[in-house]
Symmetry: C2
Subunit: 411 residues, 2 copies
């Protein structure tokens, strides 16, 4: 019997009406003859309320106790969802992470999954029950409750789908799929029917919300077909899956813009071994998260080193490089926080020429100046002036026809 | 090292200020060099809110899922209390019922404790930690979460005290101890310093709130010294303990009144074997809880059988006896719901004469008519007209000097 995993986020179980609607989704799948496993997040603003309750008592609460506290949110959702299913005559059973032995390491608030007892779930499914599992949480070897951190419930869902060998993992959310770009900026953006894990990972790391990288990485590792779709509409969403040949016909799958960025450049850096290592060790110590790094030699002795970061890390980053400036024989430091990064992503790039040329051409035609360029195997990013960012994204989307579906473009 | 168990009810952890005050109580005990185990209930109205959330989705929710849902309330309290202790520099660790393997049967919503893994608690105490355990909950052998029903957190506390061999189990509540009678009716009521389990059981079954019978039974079975005291005042409360010789010097420890009562009498019941059994089987089927039963033969063939019940069960009880009336050859049925039961309780009664006489005398002097009388080894109860109930209680309290402490009376 085929198994499907359905994940409902906090907004999809926020109140009784929404829990009932989620239950309908579950019942529809059960009626199709599927064995259904449901993963649910905490209701609406429950987690925020619990965090506020904790901080009122302790500005720096022990992480183990935070996990003990926050995990109750999902436990409430799953029992309520089981009750809603029971009310319509369906037999459902809810489980905490501990009850299905979702075993994790002991890194409280950001634990990593080690194993799942799939037999405990199969046993209930084989009794004809709908199984509802609390997302976001697990237990460590000493039975302490752990949580998985941001995007944790998505990760739970994909991990369970992997453990059960499920046909599909549906992620219900408040958007109806992944779009070629942000429709708030480029209204003509088209919904993507199918996208590869690698493309989705690039898009996620470039700030295209919807799904957290960890869940996608899990899906990639265990080849779980992920279906991102709307909890309000019946329409198909976006399938995230392994790369299939026809994807290569599409050069660019999507485009993104990141606007809250800053760039730090160490000008005239002494070009000797160990300098880069020292700088990034210093930045890691200051807990600065680095996006991209660009370095070019400017003479035999000197290089320019730039890196991009989130704007909120800028003051910590500036302090860190000022502290190390003399040690690494750097002439001066140059900082920009008036920038945006526009990127195009597509696995088709690997086998197509002229993608960079087309992107730069589109930006030139729109009179957008390019500050810097970085690329990966399936991505090209350009840093531009912030006030030209949205125009740059529009120009790029037009050039790559991101208002059309992949089928239309690959014809 | 001596161990103490402290239990805080829902009102004692209702908000951040109260959680901090509870934490102070815990710290005071820790400062005295005691190993402290804390048991907490769900915060204030949390349980009511969760029940309402459940009923909105399902008027008859599955009991397993109710337990899964309601147990989160205590889990939140214990983690928050651990955070409050951490904030003041004390090392605390919170546990769910499952985490200390509070093993119960599988009777969801009214489970019975089978065993506790005391080693898990001792291990943490020996590391110097304050251990905080979620009250009211356990797990069954299949790791389903169970709850213990009414008074469950008290039972948890007493059971843990028994398992650890604790010196004392403190029950913090919003009253400052057990009184000789209800101070709302008899303002001169005196606080009882020490009372036996049996007396407390009689008082609890007669409606003297404060502690649930199950917790007292547990305390009696494992000889746990229970200290009922106020969470707002520093004063000593009431110690519930095994019977000690000096208790016998006091004839009557307390008096109670139950006002929401009804009495059903089967007049002229056929006096043959099996009739009583049939009647009470019928009543049990109708889920009527019986308080007291009184039967007297009135001729060779006929008897009168009366029983008292809670007023809310009256219509169900009437229907049940009407249904069985002919089968048991009963002439007529007589019902009263305008009654109250006044009782006196005391282990000293076993060795003292004249208690009944003194009680009846006091009632006669107050012009109170007695409808019926029942007694146990340590209790005498009189059913009187409801509108004379409070006057009857006052007369009895005056007669037995329940405005004085036991020490003053036994002199």
């Amino acid at each position: 019997m085929a198994v499907i995993v359905q994940k409902f986020g906090g907004t999809s179980v926020a109140d009784a009406a929404k829990i009932r609607r989620a239950a309908e989704r579950v019942i529809n799948a059960a009626k199709m003859g599927l064995q259904v496993v449901v993963v649910a997040s905490a209701r609406g603003k429950q987690t925020d309320q619990l965090v506020a309750d904790a901080l009122e008592l302790n500005p720096n609460p022990p992480k183990r106790e935070m996990d003990q506290l926050l995990s109750t949110g999902e436990q409430q959702s799953v029992s309520l969802l089981a009750m809603a299913l029971d009310a319509t005559g369906y037999d459902a059973i809810s489980f905490t992470g501990g009850q299905i032995r979702m075993l994790t390491d002991s890194a409280h608030t950001k634990a990593r999954i080690k194993s799942i007892d799939a037999q405990r779930i199969h046993k209930q499914l084989d009794k004809g029950k709908i199984v509802i599992v609390a997302g976001f949480q697990g237990i460590d070897e000493d039975e302490n409750i752990t949580t998985l951190g941001r995007g944790g419930s998505d990760t739970t869902a994909v991990a369970i789908a992997a453990a059960l060998g499920a046909d599909e993992c549906e992620i219900y959310t408040d958007v109806d799929g992944i779009y070629t770009t942000d429709p708030r900026i480029y209204a003509k953006a088209a919904k993507i029917k199918q996208i590869s894990y690698d493309e989705m990972l690039e898009l996620a790391s470039l700030g295209a919300g919807v799904m957290h990288s960890r869940a996608i990485e899990f899906g990639k590792k265990y080849d779980v077909k992920i279906h991102v779709r709307s909890s309000n509409k019946e329409t198909e969403g976006t399938i995230i899956t392994h790369e299939v040949p026809q994807m290569e016909g599409v050069v660019v799958s999507g485009a993104t813009i990141q606007e809250d960025m800053a760039k730090v450049t160490l000008v005239g850096l002494g070009n000797r071994p160990g300098n880069a290592a020292s700088i990034f060790a210093k930045l890691a110590n200051a807990k600065v998260v680095i996006n991209d790094i660009m370095q070019t030699e400017v003479s035999k002795e000197k290089a320019n080193l730039s890196f991009t970061i989130s704007a909120s890390d800028l003051s910590a980053a500036k302090q860190a490089v000022e502290d190390i400036k003399d040690q690494v024989a750097c002439d001066s430091i140059f900082v920009r926080d008036d920038i945006a990064e526009v990127s195009v992503v597509g696995v088709g790039m690997r086998n197509h020429y002229g993608v960079a040329e087309k992107m730069f051409g589109a930006l030139a035609e729109a009179q957008v100046n390019i500050d810097s360029i970085t690329t990966s195997e399936i991505r090209i990013s350009c840093i531009v002036d912030k006030d030209q960012g949205q125009a740059a994204l529009t120009a790029v989307c037009d050039a790559f026809e991101l208002d059309k579906s992949a089928e239309q473009r690959s014809k």
